[in-house]
Symmetry: C2
Subunit: 316 residues, 2 copies
Amino acid sequence: MRIGIDLGGMSAKLGLVNEKNEIVGKLVIPTRLDVPAREMIHDMAEAVKKLAGEYGLQTEELEGIGIGSPGTVDQKTGSILYSNNFSWEDVPILSILKEYLGPIPMDIANDADAAALGEVCAGAAKGAKNAILLTLGTGVGGGVVLDGKIFRGGVTGGCELGHMAIVENGQLCTCGRRGCLEAYASASALLRMARKAAAEHPESVMNEMCGGDLEKMNGKIPFDAAAAGDAAGYQVVEEYENHLAFGIANLINIFRPEMVILGGGVAAQKENLTAPLQKKTECMCFGGRHGQIAPIVTSCLGNDAGIIGAANLIEI
Amino acid sequence: MRIGIDLGGMSAKLGLVNEKNEIVGKLVIPTRLDVPAREMIHDMAEAVKKLAGEYGLQTEELEGIGIGSPGTVDQKTGSILYSNNFSWEDVPILSILKEYLGPIPMDIANDADAAALGEVCAGAAKGAKNAILLTLGTGVGGGVVLDGKIFRGGVTGGCELGHMAIVENGQLCTCGRRGCLEAYASASALLRMARKAAAEHPESVMNEMCGGDLEKMNGKIPFDAAAAGDAAGYQVVEEYENHLAFGIANLINIFRPEMVILGGGVAAQKENLTAPLQKKTECMCFGGRHGQIAPIVTSCLGNDAGIIGAANLIEI
């Protein structure tokens, strides 16, 4: 049994994961941002002991503990180098955890990477060895699994798929660069485009759907409007999908995954999103009939992907 | 001693490579495109025997033979799946070579990948373990080395860095897609831009530099014109470098290499090209001071990179 921890800005979700990649027990603790990192890590250690104990396990009986963390992590030193969410810098989380829990196997990865691994081990890409996960949420997170292992790039800080730019001199991204995929394919970008279109088209049903208050726009509305035959809604969805397909085709040309998995809020659209995306993407992939073009699917593990992926950082 | 073979559309260049990654002997044979693949592979086998023989080696004394080939190769089956240059399809080159040479270790990679490995083993990125090579020639070839090994992506046909697109609905690329890096950063693209600018600006010194015949435009002229203070030439170089920097920043965000190496015709500009590129690229890389930004350098092995890289497909 391994424990996978999905560390987030709000909570740390711990799961006890068996050899079939089933989560047999869960424990969620709040992420305390107002205390030094060491105290929060102590909370995590106590939670590990508690979760293991509930299943009659001593900590040293665990096969290992894996952590998926936001931000930039350094696997070699077991550290979180930097995370927006916690304002942590250079926190050697694994060695601190080992002080509390003893020398059991531990590993750490970026949370999007861990979620990608989770989907490969037990989710939408089960059976594949090579897959890319893009999470379409506040930002665009990316995780790549190649030959069953997380692709981490060269030196620390790679695999920022959301910060592959697709438009020269385009929209300003949160990272400071212009034109990033994140600035066009995140849920936030979809909302920006939908609000603009609704404001420019007072006749659009999107205005009605958000009760006349554009602040109440959500990622479902443009898709619903498009399905109802609303021209402005259709245009928003079309534009959003064109940008996303452009980015996905780039990633297929670079990584040649067996599957592309979409997660995050926008992925709730399922085939509504993936069917047109697949068509748009195919004609942009290199090699035509000589190239294998990955099916685009939506994630199926939801929040559990991060836990299962984190647990699978530990080889059993 | 290993033999590295750089297979090209015009010739196959064989090199006998020692453990210090020095080429101690070379042999070049023409690539015969008018005969069945098997005959050309027989020529290669004979050339291997001849080159080894010149240094007193029996074929079976070789530690191995590595091949860098244009097109899409399948390492698992040792085949060239498809190559524009030869009109070959599904040619099991390694098993045919073994028929002629016996069961010595052999491996195959794409030629740009092999050149990247060569530069890491003995060239511009010697000492690094992670590097990207972009060749700026007729097209834009790309090779990635991670942890000292060629990055091959997931399923066959990945790592087409030149076909990462950077402009939506942009220039038509030879691959059929619009907006590829290749359509903006190849030597061919530079010539296209220079010819257009020269035609639009009769006062530009670029017209004089190509003797009034735009067909005689070459990749050096816009750089020379820019250095001489020609506004149109400066604009061409600036635009070319902006596109290239945009693509390089994407690759840094994805792969986080320790070095980016530029090869091919345009790389003859050396610091003239790399110094402004470095500045343009830096402000587009994710993570600012938290991220390691690779130095951009030009290749230093020239044609030998492919031979040395091919030889290094064989582990000794």
